[in-house]
């Protein structure tokens, strides 16, 4: 844990600052809208329920879904993250302002008017000071919510402590996860306490006579000013130099031995990068938010978005032949399962898989339909057998190809056997999926040989080198048999026959951009980045 912190101190500081910036910039916007709106609806009770209703509905939209809605509108980066946080902070601020003002004893406001205060004076001298504890409680709630939700900004490449958290989850790296989670929790607790203190400062300031009131105001003004500075600084911080290339990496790619660290080792490549959610990267490169992205060689969007795959001329990425990994216990229990799975043997070539991915990602066909179309084309589509005698649980990771494969397996198994297939799709990373398989939570899932080798088995360097030394053409078979043997020996898990395609990691760029800069291979990319 401490070693990790020491090695990543600069990154942690940067992420914390971004986190703070996102939290406070959004909070500030929410205050600017929420306070006046709360005051307004306290005067017009008729619109109050409508306004609170809308803010309440916004609050219940899951954060991921909200970010999903916002990306088409605002792109990727701080924009959607700030907007989502702003919307989440609105409700507590509006509601508490409304309640605080509404609950001021009407006798007091009438007394104030009876003394000759104008409506504005009643608001500033009586209503707001008396409502302040409630309003402040709302601001505290909003701050704590935002510190928490701001971790999700990492999904849209807006940075923050979520980068460590999601990277840690994807890589099953507890230290990395805690390095994000603990500071986030500390920030939340710290701000709650800090705001509680600020509240008392304000309060004693306003009752302690004129002099005290002035100094209280000054302190509050200083506090607010500092907030603005921090917010502006942190949001402005992650600006990228237009002359440099900026890479967008998936959280898993950024940390995996065969991902970016592998590239650093084999090519000596150092490229400025941002971590963002896998499914959002194509949008990011299309809109020029990033110039290089990580991805999979069979991804259907490569063609659709006019991207070009950079040649891995030093073979940093091992081959990734896809095959189902099944529990031996399950195979023993349902002997009919293995033959059904084997029917796909070699049927899914690189080009077919790319095509299937393209249909799902770009033509927005459902995985169910894509799978049916494929099975029909290769003559494997069978109407489902009505009777069900048992069930197997199938897992998949969260990306299109895995969803399609899962669908293909489901239709295949239900067509050729009497087993019912229960899908548990959407495991956030290899480790999660593998752990589920080993513990029996799922019976099988489609895996890739390279992933099995580097993420799960993690063999000694000597073993890796001996596999790597083989000529390129022999590597896939050698790795498959090594992985198959080791999985059987160590985990009692059986690798089925390969599906036929090789879905390797790859880096890609916009076609026009790559041509302009003269980059075709990873070696050239490394040189280009160094040269600038």
């Amino acid at each position: 844990m401490f070693t990790f912190l020491r090695e990543n101190a600069a990154k942690l500081a940067d992420q914390t600052l971004t986190h703070l910036g996102l939290t406070f910039a959004s909070l500030l916007m929410a205050l600017l809208l929420g306070l006046p709106l709360g005051i307004y609806i306290a005067r017009r009770k008729r619109v109050a329920s409508a306004v609170l209703g809308v803010a309440g509905v916004l609050q219940t939209v899951p954060s991921i879904a909200l970010l999903g809605f916002l990306i088409p509108l605002l792109g990727i980066g701080a924009g959607p993250a700030l907007t989502a946080l702003f919307l989440y902070a609105l409700l507590p601020i509006i509601r508490n302002t409304y309640v605080g003002i509404s609950e001021v004893n009407p006798t007091l406001t009438e007394a104030a008017r009876g003394m000759g205060m104008t409506a504005r004076q009643v608001l500033w001298r009586v209503e707001l000071p008396l409502a302040m504890p409630v309003i402040f409680a709302g601001i505290r709630t909003a701050t704590v919510i935002n510190v928490g939700v701001a971790t999700l900004a990492a999904y849209v490449a807006a940075g923050g402590l979520g980068e460590f958290i999601f990277g840690g989850i994807a890589l099953n790296n507890t230290n990395m996860m805690l390095a994000g989670a603990i500071p986030a929790a500390l920030l939340a607790v710290g701000f709650d306490l800090g705001l509680a203190r600020l509240q008392r400062v304000r309060w004693s300031g306003s009752v302690g006579g004129d002099a005290g009131g002035a100094s209280g105001k000054k302190r509050v003004a200083t506090g607010a000013g500092l907030l603005v500075v921090v917010a502006v600084m942190a949001v402005a911080w992650p600006r990228n130099n237009p002359h440099r290339l900026l890479a967008g990496f998936a959280h898993e790619f950024g940390g995996r031995a065969d991902g970016y660290p592998g590239l650093q080792k084999v090519y000596g490549m150092t490229i400025e990068n941002r971590l963002l959610d896998q499914s959002l990267m194509y949008e990011a490169i299309r809109t020029n938010k990033v110039d290089v992205i990580s991805g999979y060689s069979t991804d259907g969007r490569i063609k659709a978005f006019g991207l070009t795959v950079l040649d891995d001329d030093k073979h940093a990425f091992p081959p990734y032949a896809a095959a189902p990994v099944v529990r031996e216990a399950t195979l023993a229990k349902y002997p009919e399962l293995q033959p059904a799975l084997d029917r796909l043997n070699g049927r899914l070539t690189d080009s077919i898989m790319t095509e299937l991915n393209y249909r799902a990602d770009y033509l927005h066909e459902s995985p169910e339909r894509v799978a049916r179309g494929f099975l029909m084309k290769v003559g494997l589509l069978q109407p489902a057998i009505a009777a069900r005698t048992g069930q197997v649980v199938m897992g998949s990771k969260v990306f299109t190809e895995q969803y399609i494969l899962a669908e293909i397996y489901r239709q295949l198994i239900e067509g050729y056997t009497t087993l019912r297939v229960v899908s548990k799709t959407g495991f956030g990373g290899t480790q999660l999926c593998f752990d589920a398989l080993r513990t029996g939570a799922i019976d099988f899932y489609p895996e890739y040989t390279g992933t099995g080798l580097l993420v799960i088995l993690q063999p000694a360097q000597a073993t890796l080198d001996s596999l790597k030394r083989l000529p390129g053409a022999k590597q896939p078979a050698a790795i498959y048999s090594y992985v198959k043997a080791e999985f059987t020996r160590r985990y009692a898990l059986r690798w089925g026959v390969p599906l036929g395609f090789n879905n390797a990691y790859c880096l890609m760029m916009r076609q026009t951009d790559a041509k302009q800069r003269g980059i075709r291979t990873l070696s050239e990319l490394t040189r280009y980045v160094k040269g600038v």
């Binding site: 006798t107 007091l108 009438e110 007394a111 104030a112 008017r113 009876g114 003394m115 000759g116 205060m117 104008t118 004076q121 001298r125 009586v126 000071p129 008396l130 306003s206 009752v207 006579g209 004129d210």
Partner: protein, 246 residues
């Protein structure tokens, strides 16, 4: 016609809520320096009448004039700064110290700090309050002290007219009698034009130069305390007095 206009003059004033007249065609004149009591049961319209004088409530019909000037011709907040206002349980601002509470109207009138301090000390002496209360918050005071501060706040800018809505209503009977006695003996209050709302007959008799007994938004009987004792004009007046032990 009287050459000097009355301090307060209500002519055929009416106020309706959902078509029910809470104050119904009420005419009332208060000469300068008089203490007039609006007496009646809850809901008889006495508080509404009072609030129409400083425009906390605007009349639906009729006219209200202060010193001969229609209140509608003045900005409500300007008007109110020159009319003292005392309410039940004082209505002090809980987030203001006693000193700040007393200074509310002078500050609205942009008095200087020394003016305000001098006036505050004058009022403390007048109302027999110790200097030590100045820095306290209202919650730290006794009910009697709060009520005195409420009076001090209404007197701060020395307004010629003071409106009082059940000013002693929240006090226990003994404190109430004491403050009422003090209040009656204070010179300032003798000189001011006061309209005081109460449902307490004893209070009305003790403090009023004249009493207007109200029922259903109208004045049932108007006169000096003795008139009421000697010849109540209607059975309602008789009953009202009897119920209060007279």
């Amino acid at each position: 016609m009287n050459p000097t206009p009355a301090a307060i003059d209500l002519q055929s004033v009416t106020k309706r809520y959902q078509n029910r007249a809470v104050v119904d065609d009420l005419t009332l004149t208060v000469p300068a320096g008089e203490t007039l009591i609006l007496l009646g049961t809850s809901g008889c319209g006495k508080t509404t009448t009072l609030k129409m004088i400083n425009r906390l409530i605007d009349a639906d019909g009729g006219t209200v004039a202060i010193n001969g000037v229609d209140v509608r011709q003045q900005e409500p907040h300007e008007l109110r700064r020159h009319i003292g206002y005392v309410i039940q349980d004082a209505g002090l601002f809980p987030h203001y110290t006693v000193a700040q509470n007393i200074a509310v109207v002078p500050r609205l009138l942009n008095w200087s700090a020394t003016q305000i301090t001098d006036r505050t000390h004058e009022l403390l002496t007048l109302l027999r309050l110790p200097e030590t209360v100045l820095d306290r918050l209202p919650d730290a005071l006794s009910g009697g002290q709060r009520q005195r501060i409420g009076l001090a706040r209404a007197l701060a800018a020395d307004p010629p007219i003071i409106l009082m809505d059940e000013p002693f209503g929240a006090l226990d009977p003994i404190t109430r009698d004491d403050i009422r006695q003090e209040f009656k003996q204070l010179d300032v209050f003798q000189r001011k034009t006061i309209v005081l709302v109460t449902h307490d007959v004893r209070e009305a008799f003790a403090l009023g130069d004249r009493i207007a007994l109200m029922d259903n938004g109208r004045i049932v009987q108007m006169g000096q305390p003795d008139d009421f004792r000697q010849n109540p004009t209607t059975p309602f007046v008789e009953r009202f007095l009897e119920a209060s032990g007279y």
